[in-house]
């Protein structure tokens, strides 16, 4: 078991190295620090000194991969690639590219707290709501309720999440005046601001997830042990809840788990629509300002969370389902 966990973590680290290389190639080779400087300082008429100064301030004034001016291992360590990679792995994210923005690390920590407040309750509620709805459809399998429920699901998943947000904001905030349109306040006041985004996000994803979970339930319900349970004369509810639900929870949690990274990263769209100062909104701002340092950091943080989540899911698997081979 310990060996399995260690190997899983080792592979995760290897993947993270790959991600680091990929992002570096994307952000530094496809467009060089000179391009970034020009973009940030604005326009094509930027003096060479200004570019050099901009690069020196951010530590971009070294060769990318190989420093031929140095000797020995310093050929590798005195480069942007080495310095950026090491600092990322030490979780020291440095400063943002644009002039006004400050230290990325502090910003990430502060914003992650906001994102968590939005996404953690959402994650739990989403799991409960979708599972409950899917189970309801399965209970009424083969009836009009099942049919129209699935039709409603297909309709709901055909509607873009943006529509839910805009209609929801107009309906609940402008017409009914139940919640503020956007904004954020720390502490208990946050509930007021988080209510609406959580509700709308819940509705926006319900259709797709409920349909998926329904299929998972039905797949489980077609297995032999379920037939045996029915043959024993157990009530349908008991069969569904005690046998089907428990076993179907494994694939459901795996599929829901793929959302876990977003619990920390926050929803890009929801945060920026509702003016919540979370990580998602941070990314959108950075994209708007073309602040590559922030985007690069967020790619790294996002991948780190993703890899950690999947390692955890895999480990949890062996614990939930002992049949899983420790390969």
């Amino acid at each position: 078991m310990l060996r399995f966990i260690l190997r899983r973590i080792g592979y995760g680290a290897l993947v993270l190295l790959g991600v680091n290389l990929l992002t570096f190639v994307l952000f530094f080779t496809v467009n060089t620090p000179d391009d970034m400087a020009r973009l940030n300082l604005g326009g094509k008429r930027v003096s060479a000194e200004a570019i050099e100064k901009w690069k020196a301030e951010r530590g971009y004034d070294k060769p990318l991969y190989l420093n031929t001016a140095e000797a020995g291992t310093r050929q590798l360590t005195e480069t942007i690639f080495w310095e950026r990679s090491v600092s990322l792995f030490m979780l020291d994210f440095g400063r943002a590219d644009s002039e006004s923005a400050g230290d990325i690390g502090a910003e990430v920590v502060q914003r992650m707290a906001v994102s968590l407040q939005l996404a953690l309750p959402l994650f739990v509620l989403q799991l409960i709501a979708s599972t409950a709805f899917a189970l309801l459809l399965v209970m009424f399998r083969g009836t009009a309720l099942d049919f129209w429920g699935v039709v409603a699901c297909v309709l709901m998943l055909s509607i873009s999440g943006l529509f839910y947000i805009i209609v929801g904001q107009v309906l609940f905030s402008r017409v009914l005046m139940l919640a503020p349109i956007s904004g954020y306040a720390p502490g208990l006041d946050a509930v007021k601001f988080l209510m609406l985004p959580i509700l709308l996000s819940l509705v926006a994803r319900l259709g797709g997830e409920a349909r998926l979970y329904r299929a998972m339930f039905l797949e489980e319900a077609s297995k032999d042990y379920v037939r045996t349970a029915r043959a024993k004369g157990l009530a349908e509810q008991v069969v569904l809840v005690r046998h089907v639900l428990r076993n179907a929870l494994i694939p459901i949690i795996t599929s829901a788990g793929s959302y876990l990274p977003y619990v920390f990263l926050g929803s890009l769209v929801f945060e920026s629509f509702f003016g919540l100062p979370g990580l998602g909104a941070y990314v959108i701002e950075a994209i708007g300002k073309q602040d590559f340092a922030v985007v690069r950091t967020m790619v790294f943080v996002g991948s780190l969370l993703y890899i950690a989540t999947y390692a955890l899911i895999d480990i949890a698997y062996t614990w939930v389902d002992p049949r899983v081979r420790l390969a």
Binding site: D35, V154, I159, L162, I166, L268
Partner: protein, 483 residues
């Protein structure tokens, strides 16, 4: 002669269309494939959505023939080289010339003859705030206050009649084709369709055609002299924008999924077939790729594309060409980032297939790897590719809206549903509310995505028999066997 402009996505769209026709031909010729596809259309939803999707495809094709009109020589100028308009137009623009040219100054409500915002006008020496008459919408009415409603009703009913006529003609054509195929008379065929006795639910097709005719008829009749869906901030017709957005959505949906195929199929098959270190390397590659949150990866790549385009202005002559190249690049980016799921599926399936006797027999006969993959493995995983491709289409259309909102989608100058929603955000918070842009984008987008989803469900049920188990039915299925 106007100058024909072949944009990147135009070429791609027409190539895809040609490939679709070729595939259709091969389906027609191969009984096995024909039977499969026949099963797709047994599903009423899939049949109806096919008709809707074909309409959207028609709009896309019309909008994919671009040209720059020849400008008349300036008076008195020496005859020099021909000058062309800097605006690139498409055949669709030519068809909808009324909508393109009838540009108002700002917002107007659907079917309105008055502007939405009031202006200060001097009437009898006094300054009054009145809504001005629109320049084009309802401009033919002499006394709009009394004539407006009767005119609307008259035009709508004329349109309704014309639409019904066209729909009836289309139904008749369909019935005639059916009658020929069944070798029965028209009346007998009609009876069978009406009593829902045909294996393919043609009655659904008849209803769909009728609904389309009855909606499109009045819409066409009213969109000439009025702005059927109103106008936006800069006075552009909303209906026109919606129709143009169809192409953007279609191109993203189809081109981006197609762009995933080479990598997904190549790497997925290779990983499953060769196993060993090839498998390890490919698995590592797609694990790395799918570890990066998708939106971020796309955002990063699109930012790079933007920088690239800024540095290479020589690649395009007009703004439209630049926007189009950006759209093309976006599709490639989506393809490069989105192949992991399909590759994973294909790898798993190939792992199973390579152990089967016929593949081992082929190996024993000394057939090369390439040939085995192409002849024996690929045809047996092709259905997975098809299912994933059609399923992806609708999610990509939805994704475009999100990407455009984030600022890494299509060019702002190009019409797209994402762009419309983005603007709608501000419009919906105006007082009084400007709701029509948003509502129109909603209507068109839901229709398109819903049709794509229903079609995908039909395809999945036909090609993956297991999924039919989970189909929701209106009535419980009673297993009957005919004697």
């Amino acid at each position: 002669m106007p100058k024909i402009v072949i944009l990147w996505t135009d070429a791609a769209v027409w190539l895809m269309f040609a490939a679709l026709l070729a595939y259709g031909w091969s389906v027609w010729r191969t009984p096995e494939k024909r039977q499969r596809w026949g099963r797709v259309f047994r599903d009423g939803g899939a049949l109806a959505s096919t008709i809707v999707l074909l309409l959207a495809l028609g709009v896309t094709l019309l909008d994919s023939v671009h040209y720059r009109p020849l400008l008349p020589p300036a008076p008195g100028a020496a005859p020099g080289p021909a000058a062309y308009d800097t605006r690139t137009r498409s055949l669709l623009d030519a068809v909808l010339a009324d909508l393109v040219d009838g540009r108002e100054s700002t917002y107007s409500k659907p079917l309105a003859y008055l502007g939405f915002t009031k202006e200060s006008v001097v009437v009898n020496g006094e300054v009054q705030r009145v809504a001005p008459r629109l320049q084009f919408g309802g401009a033919h009415l002499a006394d709009p206050a009394t004539q407006w409603l009767p005119d609307l009703v008259r035009r709508a009913s004329l349109g309704l009649a014309a639409g019904a006529g066209v729909a009836a003609a289309a139904v008749l054509l369909l019935l005639a084709a059916l009658a020929r195929a069944r070798g029965a008379s028209l009346a007998v065929t009609w009876g069978a369709v009406r009593r829902r006795e045909t294996p393919v639910p043609w009655h659904v097709a008849v209803v769909t055609l009728a609904v389309i005719g009855l909606v499109a008829g009045p819409a066409t009749a009213l969109s000439g002299p009025y702005h059927l869906l109103g106008t936006d901030l800069t006075g552009n017709d909303v209906l026109y924008q919606c129709l143009k957005s169809i192409r953007t959505a279609f191109v993203i949906g189809s081109l981006a999924t197609l762009a995933t195929l080479p990598l997904a199929v190549g790497l997925g098959l290779a990983a499953g077939y060769f196993r060993g270190w090839v498998d390890e390397a490919i698995q590592y590659l797609y694990t790395v790729l799918s570890s990066v949150p998708n939106v971020l990866l796309i955002a990063a790549l699109v930012l790079m594309v933007q920088v690239f385009l800024d540095q290479h202005p020589e690649l395009f002559e007009t703004g439209a060409e630049r926007a189009d190249l950006k759209l093309f690049m976006l599709c490639i980016v989506l393809g490069l980032t989105g192949w992991a799921t399909l590759a994973r599926l294909l790898r798993a399936e190939t792992l199973k297939l390579r152990e089967l006797e016929y593949v081992q027999a082929a190996t024993a006969f000394g057939i090369g790897h390439g040939r085995i993959l192409a002849r024996h493995v690929f045809p047996n995983v092709a259905h997975l590719m098809l299912i994933v491709t059609v399923l992806e289409f609708s999610s990509l259309v939805l994704y475009e809206a999100v990407l455009s909102y984030v600022g890494v989608g299509v060019d702002p100058s190009m019409n797209s549903f994402g762009g419309m929603i983005n603007l709608a955000r501000v419009e919906m918070s105006r007082d009084p509310m400007v709701w029509w842009s948003f509502a129109s984008a909603f209507g068109f987008m839901v229709t398109l995505v819903l049709a794509a989803n229903l079609f995908a469900d039909g395809v999945r049920d036909a090609f993956d028999p297991r999924s039919r188990l989970f189909r929701a039915r209106r009535r419980p299925v009673v297993q009957t066997r005919k004697a």
